[in-house]
């Protein structure tokens, strides 16, 4: 697959502050890259440099074969960009705003009408086309920004927090939209919603203080969790003490965490040593003792825990709510 975005040795300094400190990344056609990191990690700054808004202090950026620094117009032509907060001209209506963006993008006549029509339909903007943007709800404002970004069917799509401030239905819509477009484009989204990474991304990068701390698939990311391959089971609270003791004694079990899920049920999470698979063994043990299991599942890993560990905000221990 061809690389649509190639970033090498990217640095950005604001005075003495180092916002981006040596980032390399490539995004291929068909790939959705999730950009994760705490606030102020350099996510937006990196996106602003890729889209040609800010000039990097050092490094090179190539988009669709065009160097962003030496040929910005050609590079910008093949990028669709949703800046943070989805800014738009408040006094314009979505209709006039999209018209303006289409003109700037060089779309004319039938081509322009089709492009606007498709974007409006994909984003479901039909109902608000003639209302001033400043009077729209936050969700609609974000959608206008998205419509503007996908208007010219760009090969590269860069979305800075595309689902921020949307309700769960709208989030779902935007994620489906991203997934539907993913096959033909290189897409970069920044987010601090970790579930989004699993939902739409084919690869993920975690950055903090301007450096890449992790790069891989969401599954790789989850495998970093100490909960990777952990088994969580719900049992009657009457037998929980016995079960806990027995399971903790099993070989290959590192530790056990319990939470009360409701008045009669206790949820036990069994964490394996060395992230090995323990589900068969636990199931066997429960059956041997003839203990009733209400629910049992294997955890892929907890992204929030990995995120905290990698970015340095790790809590001293996981949840230890014994009841």
């Amino acid at each position: 697959m061809e690389n649509l975005i190639e970033v090498k040795g990217l640095h950005k300094h604001f005075g003495k502050l180092v916002a981006v400190d040596g980032i390399d990344l490539t995004v291929r056609r068909g790939e959705v890259l999730g950009f994760l990191g705490p606030n102020g990690a350099g996510k937006s700054t990196t996106m602003k440099m890729i889209t040609g808004f800010l000039a990097p202090t050092a490094g090179s950026i190539n988009v669709c074969g065009h160097d962003v620094l030496s040929d910005p117009i050609a590079a910008k032509s093949c990028i669709g960009y949703l800046p943070e907060g989805a800014p738009a001209y408040g006094e314009m209506t979505p209709k006039t705003f999209l018209d303006f963006v289409a003109d700037i993008r060089g779309l004319t006549g039938q081509e322009k009408a089709t492009a606007i029509g498709q974007a409006v339909e994909r984003i479901n903007l039909q109902g608000v086309m003639r209302q001033p943007i400043e009077t729209l709800s936050k969700g609609f404002k974000r959608r206008v920004g998205l419509a503007q970004a996908i208007l010219h069917d760009p090969e590269v799509l860069i979305l800075d927090e595309p689902t921020d401030g949307l309700d769960p239905n709208q989030k779902h819509e935007v994620r489906s939209l991203i997934k539907n477009m993913a096959a033909h484009k290189a897409i970069v989204i920044s987010t601090h919603i970790l579930e989004e990474v699993n939902a739409v991304c084919s690869s993920a990068i975690i950055i903090a203080e301007g450096r890449i701390l992790f790069s891989g698939t969401p599954t790789d990311l989850a495998a970093h969790s100490r909960y990777h391959n952990a088994v969580t089971l719900s049992i009657d609270s009457g037998i929980s003490a016995k079960v806990e003791k027995t399971l903790a004694a099993l070989q290959g079990v590192a530790s056990i965490e319990t939470t009360q899920s409701n008045s009669s049920l206790i949820q036990i999470t069994v964490i394996p040593a060395d992230k090995g698979s323990i589900v068969g063994m636990i199931h066997q043990c429960m059956r041997d003792n003839d203990w009733q299991i209400e629910e049992l599942f294997v955890e892929p890993g907890r992204l929030d825990e990995v995120f905290r560990t990698i970015t340095g905000g790790a809590q001293p221990a996981g949840k230890e709510t014994r009841t």
Binding site: F14, K48, T51, G52, F53, L54, P72, I73, A74, K76, S77, I79, Y81, P83, E84, G85, P87, A88, Y89, G90, E91, M92, T96, F100, V101, D103, I104, R105, G106, P132, Q148
Partner: protein, 244 residues
Amino acid sequence: MSRTMIIFKRELGAYFATPVAFVFIVIFLLLTGVFTFYVGGLYERNQADLEPFFRFHPWLYMLLIPAISMRLWSEERKAGTLELLMTLPITLVEAVIGKYLAAWCFTAIALALTFPVWLTVNYLGDPDNTVIAAGYLGSLLLAGACMAIGSCMSALTKNQVVAFVISFVICFAFNLSGFPIVLDLFSAWAPQAIVDVISSFSFITHFDSILKGVVDIRDIIFFGSLIAFWLYATILAIEAKKSS
């Protein structure tokens, strides 16, 4: 349609999408009327010309143009639309010129709506209409120079009030630079050559010579180069301030 024209069209439309346009035009027409007929005494002079009308334009523009120009760039930066605009496939030069021309064109529309004054003197007497045409040209150039100053100040700050006040002060200084109030500051210590240079920057001096009906190429070049200089400064200011 060139990209500068697309920016121009959007920007000009934005003035008329909000009450700004109507408030500005009404106030501009009211004030020109007051100055022309009451302060300037158009009727009492018994002369068929528009000298009392044009004479107050530098002072009106000093106050009203910054009110238009203050939002040019500071609003874009505050609303974040600057980022949107600058990541569309256009150059900064196209954006600066497009937005500037829209603002200038807007004041030209306001100026054009003063035509009843021109009709009045033509009805009452037999004025020299070439002198009046020169006056309109001079007034337009003067408005353009003030607008370019305002554009640069607006690019320098996110705060529209600050942009307004600084533009006002700079326009005021340019208006007065041929008068003792400014020249006395320099004549005591600076060589005559510098004092001459400063006095040559006076809006009023250049405007007055155009008002007499003499459209000297040097006056045109003066306003033209002043506009070019401030627009170039606008570009530099946006580049420098983009990351903050």
